[in-house]
Symmetry: D2
Subunit: 109 residues, 4 copies
């Protein structure tokens, strides 16, 4: 089963600077061969369910190994059976609708 | 690795009534022998990482099998290495602090 | 507009013990007259949009005031126009479906 | 109070294609003068607390007005008092750490 995931890992008990932990998770996800896209509040991941969650587990293990005694993670997770949809498809689908709306409103004026 | 999870599964494309799908997921989680607690915006789950995520995957498969072409799920996921903490521990820890605050403020007045 | 919210506030940079901060937020929500229910990974809140988000803002201000330099919060937020639904309604709706399924399976066997 | 938000609005009861609703929300956020960045599982928003949540409320009102009887939204919300941090700062901070790690490992080999 293909999944689209938005992953946000928050190490707790290591101060306010978290980017070194996130960078290490990015390395893990890339090393697992997963397609990813980093944004300002998480990382989008596209892949097979098993591979994605195995990589997320390794992220938790690694962040604990780096010294974080506690982690809280937020995951959004999408699956669909009606059609295949990539990360880019989702963004493009929204952008096309916006362009459509603008063209229409321009034509109407 | 022990995990505390908050799971919220949202079937898309099956109308506005989602409780039959959630009920089926509750059955799956219980059938997997996981400790769970249903609340108004999700289900808390306590268990081993592998068992919990295997059950969540079965929930997605089952909800798709019930006719939902698309699912979006939100997961909060906590792990810690400093100490063992149950679902009840977390709630009690907050409640004790509130009682403490009330006693203190009462004493002060 | 009525909202059902699941609120999970995570202070960052104050160590691993977060319950004192959560307890203070519980006090704020209760003091705002909001209906709440604490669970192991957050707090369910029921109320009017403006009142709920004003209280959440006060939680952030207060937790910063208690010494947390950084906060990351996860909110699930539900609104509906088809009918009124309380926090209890949502839980009961799932529970009734589960009882129904059990009765059916018992009858079938 | 400045906030960084990750917003994911999910209309329920309108079928599986949600991009027209998301596009309309993008228009609302842009019309409110907020800095935004669309990704595959939500929209990052940067702005003042009041302006951001007023715009999110307008999104809910508008999506209901477009015919969605029910909406479930997931919000991640960050505030900090120790320093100002933009959306780009967060991404760059992670990217720099990754480059640093690569350089180090290259030098070591």
């Amino acid at each position: 089963m293909k999944v689209l995931v938005d992953l946000c890992i928050v190490p707790i008990g290591v101060g306010v600077s978290l980017s070194a932990y996130i960078a290490e998770c990015e390395n893990i996800l890339a090393g697992a061969g997963l397609k990813t896209s980093l944004h300002s509040y998480g990382t989008n991941i596209e892949g097979e369910w098993e591979a994605v969650f195995a990589a997320i587990k390794r992220c938790h293990e690694t962040v604990h190994g780096m010294g974080a005694p506690r982690i809280t993670t937020t995951i959004k997770l999408g699956t669909r059976t009606d059609r295949h949809q990539t990360m880019e498809d989702k963004v493009n689908s929204v952008k096309e609708k916006r362009i459509g709306a603008w063209s229409t409103s321009r034509t109407e004026k």
